[in-house]
Each structure stands twice: as C-alpha cells, then as structure tokens.
C-alpha cells in the first residue's frame, strides 16, 4: 500500500506550486488558478488523512466536499470580478490595476 507520506508530499508539492503561482504570476486569472491548486492540495491532504488516520469518521470527506463547494463559489465570484475589471481597464494584468495608491 502507498504510504501516507507520499500523499502528503504530493499535496505539499502542489500547494507550493500554487503558492509560487500566486506570488509570481502577473495575470489575475493565473493567480486564481494558483489559489485553486492550493485548495486542491488541501483536498489531497484531507482525503489522505481521512483514509489513514480516521477511516471510520467521515469528517475528513465531508470537509473535502465543502472545500470543493467553496472553491467553486470562489472561482465564480473571482472570475466575475476579473471580468468587471477587464471591462473598465481592458487588462487583467494586476500591475496595470493601480489606481489606488498612497
């Protein structure tokens, strides 16, 4: 059987790739994709922990299901906001969105 640490390593890797994407990409849609990767890493974690640590208690699976829902809602709202910015600014590059400064 695949040991638990392998799942956790994959999850940590996906999480870091997502975080790197958020911090390094300039396109708002790409940043959103980075956040989604991070949420998926959480799901891998939750399901792996559920299977290996506490398989009789469904809390981990339920948690993961809620994370899906939240991720979908977040993507819907995020894309709507990005479209609204694109309509007024003709750009989704975060560095171009700079009206608010001190």
């Amino acid at each position: 059987m695949v040991p638990l640490w392998m799942f956790l390593a994959v999850a940590a890797g996906v999480f870091c790739i997502g975080a790197y994407g958020v911090l390094s990409r300039r396109n708002a849609v790409a940043i959103l994709m980075g956040v989604e990767l991070m949420l998926n890493a959480v799901n891998i974690n939750l399901i792996a922990f559920w299977r290996y640590v506490e398989p009789l208690n469904m809390a981990g699976q339920a948690f993961a299901a809620f994370v899906f829902v939240i991720a979908a809602a977040e993507a819907a709202v995020g894309l709507a906001i990005i479209i609204s910015v694109y309509r007024s600014r003709r750009s989704v590059i975060v560095e171009d969105v700079d009206m608010l400064k001190w």
Partner: protein, 506 residues
C-alpha cells in the same frame, strides 16, 4: 463533551441565522415585486429587520432553560455568552450599514446589495459561534465571498472593481493558507471539533517535537491576520477601504473584524490552550509572542502612516490597522497566569470591538453624507463643515475622539480595559507602547477636527442636508458611544467577562 441532541433547543440556538436567511429571501422577493420608485424602502426593511434580529440573541439567551450553553448540531455550533455578545454587535453593525446605504449612489436602491450584505452577516454570526473546523471555515468563506462582491459592487466604477479584485486575490490566498493549516490539524488529530483537538495534540505522537504544531499555528495566524488586517498582512486594507463603496467599507471595518476576532479568540483558547506543552515548548507562549509583536507593529505602522493621509477613507483604513493592533494587545494578554486574568483579557477584546462597531459606523455615516453631498473624500475639503452642518461636525468629532480614546467617548474605556489587561498579564511594555501610540493617533484625529472647525472654505454657504435614515443612524451610534463611555461601560464589560468565562469553562 457531547453535543445537545434536542432539536427544539438546537433550532433556537441558531434562531438569528434562520431569521437572516428568511430576511434575505424577503428582501429578494420585495426587490422583484416593488417598482423602481419604492426600492428606497428596501434599505429600511433590511435595516430594521437586522436590528430586530439583534434582539434575538438577547431574548433566546444562552443559559436560558430552553437553550442551555453548549454545543449544538453535532458540535458545529457553540451557543454561549461570547457568541451572543458578538452576534449582537455584528447584527447591529449590519442593520446600521443597511440604513446608511440608502442614499449611496449605485448601491442603495439595489435589492441584491442588501441580500449579499445579509448573507455575509449570516456567515459572521456563524463565525462567532463556530465549534468545529468545518463550520469555522465555511462561516469564514460565507463571510468573505459576499464581501468580495460588495467591495466590487459599483460596476461602472473602476476604483470599486479594483478594490474588489485586490480584496479577492489577497483574501483567497490567505484563506487557502489557513485551510492548509486546518487540514494539517485534522491530520495530526483525526478530529475536526475545536474542543477535541487540544487533547489529541498533547499525545506522545509528536515525540516532543513541537515544529509541526508551530508550523500549523503560523498558517492559521496568517489566515486570521489577514481578516483582522494586522501587520504584516494589512497591505490590502487601505486600497480596499478607499475603493469600496463607503457603506461596504464601514461594514468591512467593523463587522468582519469583530467576527474574525471572535473566531480567533475561540480558536486560540480552545485549540492551543495554556495547558498545551509539546516537548519544552509552551504553545501558548509562542502565539502570545507573535501577537505581541504584531500588536506593536500594527499600532505603530497604522498610526505613523495615517499621519500622512489626505483621503479620509484611507485615514480611517490606517486607523483601523492601528485599532486592530490595540485589540491584539488583549489577545496577547491571554497569557495571564490566572484564569481570571485571561478572562479579563478576552473581555477587553470583546468590549473594544463592541465600542468600535458604534464608533466607526458613526464616523463612516458622516463620511458617506459628506461624500454624497460634495463628491469629495479629501480631508482638506472637510473645511468649514462645522458651518455647513454643525450636527455632522459634532458627530464626526465624537467618533474621532472615541477612536483616539478621549473620555467621555467610548474609546477611552476600550483602551483602558485593554491596557489594564496587559499590565495584569505582565505585558507592561506593550501597554506603554499602546499609550504612546494613542498620543500619536490623537494628533491626526485632532487635525481632522481642526479642519472641520477652524479652516475656512468658499463652500460654507452650502449646507449639507441630512435625511431621516442618517439622523437615526447617527443618533443611535452617537448616543451609544456616549453611553458606552460613561454609564453603560460597566454592564457591557461585565457581559463581556461572562462571555469570556464561558469560553474558558469547557
């Protein structure tokens, strides 16, 4: 600790939330049925509905025969005096925000604005009573996702869209980090209930190595630090506050912050209590140090940068970072060696948020009226306000004095209780830094007051009209600020102490 299974009591425990869901549906239906000319009344329906719902936690109080304190809904919801205190202030904040949104352009006549606001409030009330990690996360996102929409609500306005985008990008990143921390906590313990995690964390499984738990703790603090806009997770605050429609800024600065502090306190005390020691590392000691440092930097940075602001909303944004810093003193003071001292510290946090709700709503009500009448948010344009509308200038003065902590306004007792808790917990240096910061802060608040009363302006003969809803909002908050600063201080603090005691009596 098992959860209550009595369905009737369980339904009563979430009565405010049920009321919010019904109210959201009612507002949505009225928005469809009413013609354009009557939409103005939506604000009254939502506002009065929310204020009435604020009475529900007081009537169905925790510890009453029908609803004993404890966990409900399989441990998801914790019904106690602390959640009652925070629910009342969140619902009041939401109600007053709805009332004062009425004349805000592009916001006030749209039914969906109030619906989204009410849904966000629903998330906040659940945040203040969450007893489980799943509930805590769901409530946090039910709060945040509507707030992203609200920040970007004025579709034609580039600044509003930009503010929504920034809030969304930073917010979703921070909550993903928080969630990763929560998933690790689940993995370490196999538990999702906040009240069961601590006892599993003390087990031998960590082989006296505190690093995994400390790492998780840091991730959780990143998530919460973002929500309460504590340094170093504050950089979104000024931009979002300035760009968002002003009623949303008011709501964001008080309700969202209050709910986050409620959840933060509960999370820290339940999951990382003082009894938790792994190896030689006292976990509580670790987070107290982090929050002391964050309180110090938040206060100083917020106040110093606020000195240079020319836009009143940005000034209030930096002021709110500083206020988060003061409140974090109370979080750090939980380290007190006596249980009584810890309870005092939590109570000081609750009291501070309670008075902050009324104070900041009052300040933003004036800002909304002024900017709707003149189209300006610049501090210099406030010149001559005392001659254009003496009542507005007086209310703004009261709010600013309360933020600065000058008696008889409410802020004085807010800061007094926080500094007292800090001294009792052996954090005298933090209290001294707080007092010094309050002096710096007094300067920029007084500058605004001076501009309103002393500076002259060519527009002085143009009075600013105040419509009915705003008179009510400013009347309620103005009286509340004065009452909390004088006779009501003691009863409310005692209420907060009972709430804090409920938090520690597990």
């Amino acid at each position: 600790m098992g959860a209550t299974t009595d369905l009737g009591a369980a339904l009563l425990a979430i009565l405010p939330e049920i009321g919010l869901a019904v109210l959201a549906t009612v507002v949505l239906a009225l928005d469809l049925m009413w013609p354009e000319s009557r939409r103005r009344n939506l604000s009254v329906v939502a506002g009065v509905g929310l204020l009435l719902l604020a009475l529900v936690p007081l009537l169905v109080y925790p510890g009453s025969p029908a609803t004993p304190e404890g966990l409900y809904w399989g441990g998801m919801v914790r019904h106690d005096v602390l959640s009652q205190l925070f629910k009342v202030m969140i619902l009041v904040a939401a109600g007053l925000t709805s009332l004062m949104a009425v004349d805000a352009k592009g916001v006030g006549r749209k039914g969906e604005f109030y619906v989204v606001l009410i849904v966000s409030t629903l998330g906040m009330t659940l945040m203040s009573s969450a007893g489980d990690m799943i509930m805590a996360f769901l409530a946090l996102e039910t709060t945040s996702i509507p707030l992203y929409i609200l920040a970007a609500f004025k579709r034609g306005d580039e600044r509003s869209a930009e503010s929504g985008l920034k809030y969304f990008l930073f917010g979703s990143f921070a909550s993903a980090i928080l969630l990763y921390g929560l998933s690790l906590l689940y993995g370490f313990t196999g538990q999702t209930s906040l009240y069961h995690i601590a006892q599993y964390l003390t087990s031998e499984a960590f082989a006296n190595n505190p690093l995994p738990v400390l790492g998780t703790l840091v991730m959780v603090i990143v998530g919460f630090g973002f929500k309460i806009s504590a340094v170093p997770f504050h950089f979104w605050t000024p931009d979002v506050y300035e760009g968002a429609p002003t009623p949303v800024t008011a709501f964001l600065s008080v309700a969202s912050k209050a709910a986050s502090f409620a959840l933060l306190v509960r999370f820290l005390v339940a999951v990382f209590p003082s009894s938790l020691v792994i190896g030689t590392q006292e976990i509580q000691n670790f987070w107290v140090q982090l929050f002391s440092a964050s309180a110090l930097i938040s206060m100083t940075l917020g106040n110093v940068v606020a000195l240079a602001q020319r836009n009143i909303k940005r000034l209030l944004a930096y002021s709110s970072i500083a206020q988060a810093g003061y409140t974090l003193i109370g979080i750090a003071a939980i380290q007190s060696t006596s249980a009584d001292g810890s309870a005092q510290a939590v109570a000081a946090v609750g009291f501070y948020m309670f008075m902050y709700v009324f104070t900041n709503i009052l300040a933003f009500a004036v800002v909304i009226l002024f900017s709707e009448a003149t189209g300006s948010e610049t501090i210099a344009d406030l010149a001559g306000l005392s001659r254009r509308n003496p009542f507005l200038a007086l209310m703004m003065t009261l709010a600013l004095l309360s933020l600065a902590g000058v008696p008889p306004a409410a802020g004085f007792f807010g800061k007094f209780f926080l500094f007292q808790a800090a001294v009792q917990s052996g954090l005298t240096w933090l209290a001294i830094v707080g007092v010094l910061n309050a002096i710096v802060a007094l300067y920029y608040y007084l500058v605004v007051i001076k501009v309103m009363y002393v500076d002259r302006s060519p527009d002085e003969d143009k009075p600013i009209a105040v419509s009915g809803a705003y008179t009510w909002v400013m009347g309620i908050t103005g009286v509340a600020v004065l009452l909390i600063g004088t006779v009501a201080a003691q009863p409310i603090f005692e209420w907060a102490v009972r709430g804090a005691a409920a938090l520690f009596a597990l």
